[in-house]
């Protein structure tokens, strides 16, 4: 039987606050429906091939968001803090992959048909694997040192302190990369086999939709890594320790879990995933620079919250959902593509207004009184 709320002193603000949320919600939904009506029925200029193309690219980028989002969720679950510098970890991985490819481009492997062939095209799959390996390892190392230097000393400090430290680390990493490698945009050289813009051509209604090879590869790798991670978290001892620490750090330590060790490994794992996302980003989008981690970092955080911060499946789902929405929404609502980035922020705000626990729900850490 539901409890009756007693008559407290209801202030003016409470009353107003009570009306604002439903008001905003209804306004947003109404606007969305109106815009979609215009786009689909009045203008009607987008055919199914457009939606398919957008959905595909949304899934591809969503996969990358998922990988980074998992990193946010892992760290939040275990430390209760948002790793503000995680986007930069992705960026570092991306650069590492870039430099490896540049190096591979320098190794001549002449063949009879192509006398100027380089390693990159002679062994394209090996090159890609190496790029991922280098990118992921470098990002993992970055994550490891990030935790060791900027977060570990602040384990017991009030919330504000590690957050500022994270912001500082983020700024430091961005500028370090900028100073080391110059602000110029770098262009990923894909092996010819996986050149950007080539892919499977799907025929839809007399139009053809391209499912790019890089996109498909990225998506498959994302899903595989997510599956691997899920296995680690659910079935291995490390995963059990991670889950234990996220529920009760002190008791886990008392039970013999080496907390520092597990936390380091968590950062390493989230770094590996972010590094993979970084290399994917380079292969798929082409251009990278020192600032590339900022927006994807925030969007991935939004994805983690969307799915339920602290929840790994939530981060996976959230990333894919966010990627697709971000891709389709500007066209569906008929707004400028410039405002694409605003969508992620808006989603963030809406989630906090209406469902702070996220789509798949999460336990927001309660304090003990």
């Amino acid at each position: 039987m539901q409890n009756e709320r007693s008559q407290g002193s209801k202030g003016f603000w409470k009353k107003v606050g009570g009306y604002i949320r439903p008001f905003i919600g209804i306004a947003v939904i109404a606007w969305a429906i109106w815009r979609m009506y215009i786009v689909f029925f009045v203008d009607a200029k987008f055919g199914p091939e457009t939606w398919l193309r957008l959905a595909f690219s949304g899934l591809v980028i969503g996969g990358m968001y998922s990988l980074v989002a998992i990193g946010y969720s892992l760290v939040y679950g275990i430390l209760g803090m948002i790793n503000f510098a995680h986007g930069e970890v992705m960026m570092v991985g991306s650069f590492a992959g870039y430099f490896l490819i540049q190096a591979l481009k320098q190794i001549p492997v002449p063949s009879a048909v192509m006398p100027e062939q380089t390693f990159l095209n002679a062994y394209p799959w090996l090159s890609v694997i190496l790029a991922f390996a280098v990118g992921m390892t470098t990002a993992a190392a970055t994550g490891y040192f990030l935790e060791k230097i900027a977060y570990r000393p602040l384990r017991n400090a009030p919330r504000l302190v590690p957050l500022i430290s994270a912001i500082g680390a983020s700024i430091f990493l961005q500028n370090a990369v900028q100073l080391l490698f110059s602000p110029q945009l770098r262009d990923y050289t894909n092996p010819d086999l996986l050149a950007r813009g080539t892919g499977f051509a799907l025929k839809v209604n007399d139009n053809s939709v391209m499912l790019t090879y890089t996109g498909v590869l990225a998506f498959l790798i994302s899903i595989s890594l997510m599956g691997l991670l899920y296995y680690v978290v659910q079935r291995t001892r490390l995963g059990r320790s991670m889950r234990a620490i996220s529920q009760d750090k002190k008791t886990s330590a008392l039970m013999g879990v080496n907390v520092d060790n597990v936390i380091s490994k968590t950062f390493i794992i989230s770094g590996l995933l972010a590094g993979a996302a970084g290399v994917m980003w380079g292969l798929q989008m082409g251009l990278i620079n020192y600032f590339m981690g900022f927006l994807p970092g925030i969007k991935a955080f939004t994805a983690a919250v969307l799915g339920g911060i602290g929840s790994i499946p939530g981060a996976m789902v959230g990333g894919l959902v966010l990627g697709v929405i971000e891709s389709i929404a500007p066209a569906a609502f008929g707004v400028d593509f410039q405002l694409k980035d605003v969508i992620a922020f808006l989603i963030l705000i809406l989630i906090f207004l209406y469902r702070p626990t996220g789509l798949l729900g999460t336990t927001i850490k309660e304090e003990k009184l």
Binding site: I24, I164, S165, I167, G168, I171, L179, L180, L339, L346
Partner: protein, 519 residues
């Protein structure tokens, strides 16, 4: 007696030092540093070219010295040996790195496409223009010598040199006659007049450049004070402060510029409306974020800030906001018929605004409002259970803080006669946050200090401009680890001194049997 742990005390700092040195070399910092040092020696360096290579020795000497200083923890002669050993290790690594580069470059290699600071000229500079082997030896020896000196210097008990004079100074200031003068009302008024005259006269003396710089510092102090109410006192971690500043700036701009609306209402009206709208924006943002804590609050407010910037920049709203180009030719204030025509006038305006902000902050800090805010920052749950209405006070902090921001924004835009979306980026919010946190939360002198450090220092150290953000990031991390309370932590007032003797409780009866509790 070298066991593993003592080995670590030598090897670890050495490795860290060598990594830092190599990193600095890879970003070209050593070249810039050498240029500054040579400037100190009177040899000015044309920007773009290199100083005398021997100033690279100063760089290596400095790094060696720091290693040596750090390693000698035991402050005895064995420690000095340890320092030298550490110097040798780090010197070998750094020198080896330069040697490697030297050899590669001599044979035609070039890493410039990867590491832009490693041009052949710079690599040559690292080796002092000598052949690689010689460069290696010079670097190694420099490290060892200065590490030795660093360790040696630690043997000197500096504390003893300073304690006596420090004690003398302290006892001087505690003398009753000095204390009496300090608290004398006439003396205080005299100080006030002195300070005020300084504030009036100095802007006329120190020239347009300094007026501009100090004026910018003043605007940042204003921003810091505003954010201080929100973050420093009431503990709400708001990362989108730039949005409130933007409201103020754009209000002033839109009401006072020929495009896009040609309203030309005058600066004073713009100021008032700007402050009001910014305060309103604070209230508006406050409503949805009431229930958010800590990190979430930070990210959501960051989102608001970015939404504001992107919207201002978008083509969609250009007809209203001026779009990516911003708004130009904002007309300045006119007082008693005369227009503001120099930085001096703006300086006075900024001084007045900062004075008002400081006044309001001091009054609020030392009242039930300030105490309610700090109690919420320390422990919101218990504050609420003690009778503090969190929503009301959070709103108050946001509205007032946003109002300060609005004032800062209007002055900023009016002084620059321009404002645009790129004036209101995330970095502005982070700068304001750094001023508050690194200066000291809730501490007015800390915030002033922080603003000077953040905006004033870079002016003085122009050569290091490209490294400013790097240092900023490192500083944030370092401050949080070593001094999270800020450079100048806030001090709470000594309230007991205000209670008049007749209202105090009667003195303790000298009864040893009476324990806790008595009347």
């Amino acid at each position: 007696m070298k066991n593993k742990s003592s080995g670590n005390k030598i090897v670890n700092p050495a490795i860290v030092a060598s990594i830092v040195s190599i990193f600095l070399i890879m970003i070209g910092f050593n070249v810039v540093f050498a240029a500054i040092v040579s400037k100190a020696f009177g040899q000015n360096v044309i920007s773009g070219s290199l100083s005398n290579p021997y100033f690279q020795i100063v760089f290596n000497a400095m790094m060696g010295f720091l290693v040596g200083w750090r390693v000698n923890q035991t402050r005895n002669f064995r420690g000095v040996l340890a320092s030298s050993a550490a110097g040798a290790i780090s010197g070998a690594i750094v020198a080896g790195f330069c040697l490697l580069l030297g050899i590669i470059y001599v044979n035609g290699g070039d890493f410039r496409s990867y590491l832009t600071a490693l041009s052949p000229i710079n690599v040559n500079f690292c080796l002092y223009g000598l052949p690689p082997i010689m460069g290696f030896l010079v670097t190694l020896v420099t490290f060892i010598i200065f590490a030795f000196l660093g360790g040696l210097l630690k043997l000197i008990p500096f504390g003893r040199f300073f304690s006596k004079p420090a004690g003398a100074v302290k006892s001087f200031f505690n003398k009753p006659s000095i204390q009496k003068t300090w608290h004398n009302k006439v003396f205080r008024i005299f100080l006030l007049i002195l300070g005020l005259s300084a504030l009036i006269i100095l802007p006329r003396l120190w020239g347009s450049y300094w007026n501009y710089v100090i004026g910018t510092v003043g605007i940042y102090v204003l921003m810091g004070l505003g954010l201080n109410l929100i973050v420093g006192l009431s503990g709400q971690l708001v990362l989108g402060f730039a949005a409130f500043i933007a409201v103020g700036a754009y209000t002033a701009a839109l009401l006072n510029a020929p495009e896009p609306h040609n309203l030309m209402l005058g600066s004073w009206i713009a100021f008032i409306v700007g402050i009001g709208l910014a305060a309103f924006a604070g209230a508006l943002i406050g409503l949805p974020i009431m229930k958010l804590r800590g990190d979430y609050l930070a990210i959501v407010t960051l989102g608001f800030g970015e939404i504001m910037r992107i919207s201002l920049k978008s083509d969609l709203l250009t007809s209203f906001t001026g779009g990516p180009r911003g708004i130009q030719d904002i007309k300045g204030p006119v007082i008693f018929g005369a227009a503001f025509n120099s930085d001096i006038d703006f300086m006075y305006l900024i001084i007045m605004a900062v004075a008002i902000a400081i006044f309001v902050t001091i009054r609020l800090q030392d009242s039930r409002v300030g105490r309610a805010w700090i109690s919420m920052r320390e422990d919101e749950t218990v504050a609420s259970a003690s009778g503090v209405n969190p929503m009301k006070y959070k709103m108050l902090a946001l509205v007032l803080g946003a109002a300060f921001a609005g004032l800062a924004g209007t002055i900023f835009a009016t002084r620059n006669q321009f404002t645009g979306p790129e004036d209101h980026t995330l970095m502005v919010s982070i700068n304001a946050l750094a001023i508050v946190i690194v200066g000291g939360m809730g501490s007015i002198p800390g915030i002033i200090l922080g603003a000077f450090a953040l905006k004033g220092l870079p002016e003085l150290l122009r050569e290091f401009e490209s490294y400013r953000m790097l240092a900023f990031g490192a500083l944030l991390v370092a401050m949080m680890i070593w001094r999270p309370q800020g450079f100048w932590p806030a001090k709470r007032p000594a309230l007991s001194k205000r209670v008049k003797p007749e209202d105090s409780p009667p003195p303790l009866p000298l009864d040893p049997n009476k324990e806790v509790g008595h009347d």
